[in-house]
């Protein structure tokens, strides 16, 4: 059984057909996703979990793709192993001759990276204003926001200057479009979404005036909502107290006296930035894949040029041009 499977994987026909099948299933997938968008509502960025969490018939193209790609990857590995052995046996010392095998290795690693990230990635929206906001293992607050515009008024660059507090060590970092804050070889990234004006609830807590954003905690409660609409005569703040099953609504009481424990006295606004926190567990592997694939591409191109030069020399000597496939078979060794 195993020798037969290896023989099948080793055949170039198998690899080529698996490649075309993968392209076909992927193309089919775009049509299915476009025709049935409701089946893919939870799919974002490179997430693959919905395909496995809720197996559905409509995802048939993805399962076909996964099978085709897995077989292609296995075939690429087996063929690469064979071709490297052949080259070593023939003592091929040209580095460029190993470009294609290297490219195949990068391809298989890229497949693993896609799977790993597709099953482990995460995205979370974060709002950072003038107060400290915990993101990952640090706290951030907005120190300044600079917007550079062209003479026509189109923004050229939007840059958020953040103060970062890591275990008491405070430094300043910038986040801008195409310039995220990256850590752990890209596994963690903080990206600029857009600048916003966020509402703040002004509360008097035991006589002390506090400005709270949604999600901020003071003692035993968290601010969960601020309602402000034309249909309401006055804004309202919603607080969730620890141990209580439902939240409490506080009406606006601008003249709240110091005797009240918690009072909602107004709404304020502040400049903030919407950030995206991305976790890409496969990022370090992807960096390796990108470097290996780029190097392998350069080597493959070099090898192609070397063969073309040799072909031209042979043609000049013999006066005829060999067929491409024959020529490549000769070069393979």
């Amino acid at each position: 059984m195993l020798p037969r499977l290896l023989a099948a994987l080793r055949s170039q026909r198998f690899g080529v057909l698996a490649g075309f099948a993968a392209a076909f299933f992927l193309a089919l997938g775009t049509v299915v996703m476009d025709l049935a968008p409701e089946a893919y509502a939870g799919l974002s960025l490179d997430d693959m979990r919905p395909f496995f969490r809720e197996p559905r018939l409509v995802h048939f193209w993805f399962y076909g793709l996964a099978l085709a790609v897995a077989l292609w990857g296995a075939s690429a590995l087996v063929c690469t192993w064979d071709s490297v052995r052949t080259r070593l046996r023939h003592r091929v010392r040209r580095v460029s001759a190993y470009g294609a095998p290297l490219f195949h290795v990068a391809f298989v690693l890229a497949l693993f990276a896609h799977l790993h990230n597709g099953l482990g990635e995460s995205t979370a929206a974060r709002v950072v204003g003038s107060d400290w906001t915990a993101i990952g293992d640090a706290r951030y607050r907005l120190a300044d926001l600079t917007v550079t515009t062209s003479p026509s008024g189109m923004p050229r660059d939007i840059r958020a200057h953040l103060e970062r507090d890591r275990a008491g060590q405070v430094d300043t970092v910038d986040v801008a479009y195409n310039a995220p804050l990256v850590a752990d070889v890209g596994a963690h990234a903080l990206l600029l979404g857009r600048p916003i004006e966020r509402p703040l609830a002004v509360l008097r807590v035991v006589g002390e005036r506090r400005r709270l954003a949604i999600g901020d905690r003071v003692g035993a409660f968290v601010l969960t909502r601020v309602l402000q609409s034309r249909s309401l005569r006055a804004p309202m703040a919603e607080l969730q107290f620890d141990g209580e099953p439902s939240p409490r609504w506080l009406p606006l009481t601008p003249g709240a006296g110091p005797s009240e424990l918690v009072a909602f006295v107004g709404i304020d606004r502040e400049r903030a930035v919407l950030l995206t926190e991305r976790v890409n567990p496969a990022a370090p592997l992807v960096v390796v894949v990108a470097l290996v694939a780029a190097l392998a591409t350069v080597l493959v191109v070099w090898e192609h040029l070397w063969r073309a030069r040799r072909r031209a020399r042979r043609a000049a000597v013999s006066g005829e041009t060999p067929a491409p496939a024959v020529e490549d078979a000769i070069a393979l060794g």
């Binding site: 170039q12 026909r13 690899g15 080529v16 057909l17 490649g19 075309f20 993968a22 392209a23 992927l26 193309a27 997938g29 775009t30 996703m33 476009d34 968008p37 893919y40 799919l43 974002s44 960025l45 490179d46 997430d47 490219f103 391809f107 896609h114 990635e121 995205t123 062209s150 003479p151 026509s152 008024g153 189109m154 923004p155 050229r156 660059d157 801008a176 479009y177 195409n178 310039a179 995220p180 890209g186 990234a189 990206l191 995206t276 991305r278 890409n280 990022a283 992807v286 990108a290 694939a293 780029a294 591409t297 493959v300 191109v301 192609h304 041009t321 067929a323 491409p324 496939a325 490549d328």
Partner: protein
């Protein structure tokens, strides 16, 4: 918010390049040297028009559908100049029809300049997009050479061009995918998205990845099946390049 003014010289350059290309087409009936000279003249005028637009917006001039089609036509005509060596009229005319069609299609879009939004302002943009366009143009050439093969031109020229241009397109597109992945990471935090444009880019890459391996499979390497697949590849390229913007409802790419 008004964009920068379109340089006055752009219109004459646009018309002059079209005239030079038209003359190069007519020169099919004349000596090859004249044809090549006219094509090179058209390319120089075409490129000058693109550079002029770039200088006016002080950025890489690929910010609108007009510029996208205009630049793609430039790449197709540039590949046509290289494809002259294949010696096949069908190959040349195939490329000419595609390049000429995209040049003509630019008339459907406003010529006004638009500035690049902040997300486009990255080094990855001028690395990723032109490399993609060059690959599309090379794959178009492979398809045109395939058509020449199917129509009975069995000489080594078109067949070699079909193989070579598919290979070069694949190699350059591989680098383009790496640059595009890097841009995706710094812009959205992900090197791949379930977006029609990105998925079809992967379809094109997988398709040509399999295509360049056909030479190791004797049945697949026969001239007619390979030439037919080169034509299928052209459809893949067209869906990737324009189809994802016009056929699919949800794409983060406008062109």
């Amino acid at each position: 918010m008004n964009g920068p003014a379109l340089p006055a010289a752009f219109g004459p350059l646009y018309v002059a390049a079209a005239c030079a290309y038209g003359a190069a087409l007519l020169a099919e009936l004349g000596p090859p040297r004249l044809r090549r000279a006219l094509l090179a003249l058209g390319l120089a005028l075409h490129l000058a028009g693109l550079v002029l637009r770039g200088v006016a917006i002080a950025y890489f001039p690929l910010t609108s559908k007009f510029e996208s089609f205009y630049a793609f036509a430039l790449f197709v005509f540039a590949v046509l100049l290289v494809a002259e060596r294949s010696g096949s009229r069908v190959h040349r005319l195939g490329l000419f029809v595609v390049g000429g069609t995209f040049y003509a299609l630019t008339t459907l879009f406003p010529t006004a300049l638009s500035e690049a939004p902040p997300l486009m302002r990255t080094v990855w943009y001028p690395l990723h997009v032109p490399a993609s366009f060059l690959s599309y143009a090379l794959w178009t050439s492979a398809a045109a050479a395939g058509l020449a093969t199917l129509l009975g031109n069995r000489g080594p020229g078109p067949r070699r061009a079909m193989e070579d241009h598919a290979f070069w397109g694949f190699a350059i597109f591989s680098l383009s995918m790496i640059f595009g992945g890097a841009w995706g990471y710094v812009a959205w935090g992900a090197w791949f998205l379930w977006d029609p444009k990105l998925v079809w880019s992967l379809v094109a890459w997988l398709f040509y990845g399999a295509f360049v391996h056909l030479k190791y499979w004797p049945a697949g390497n026969a001239p007619r099946p390979k030439a037919s697949l080169a034509l299928v590849g052209f459809l893949v390229v067209m869906v990737t390049y324009v189809g994802t913007s016009f056929l699919f409802r949800h794409s983060s790419h406008s062109f």
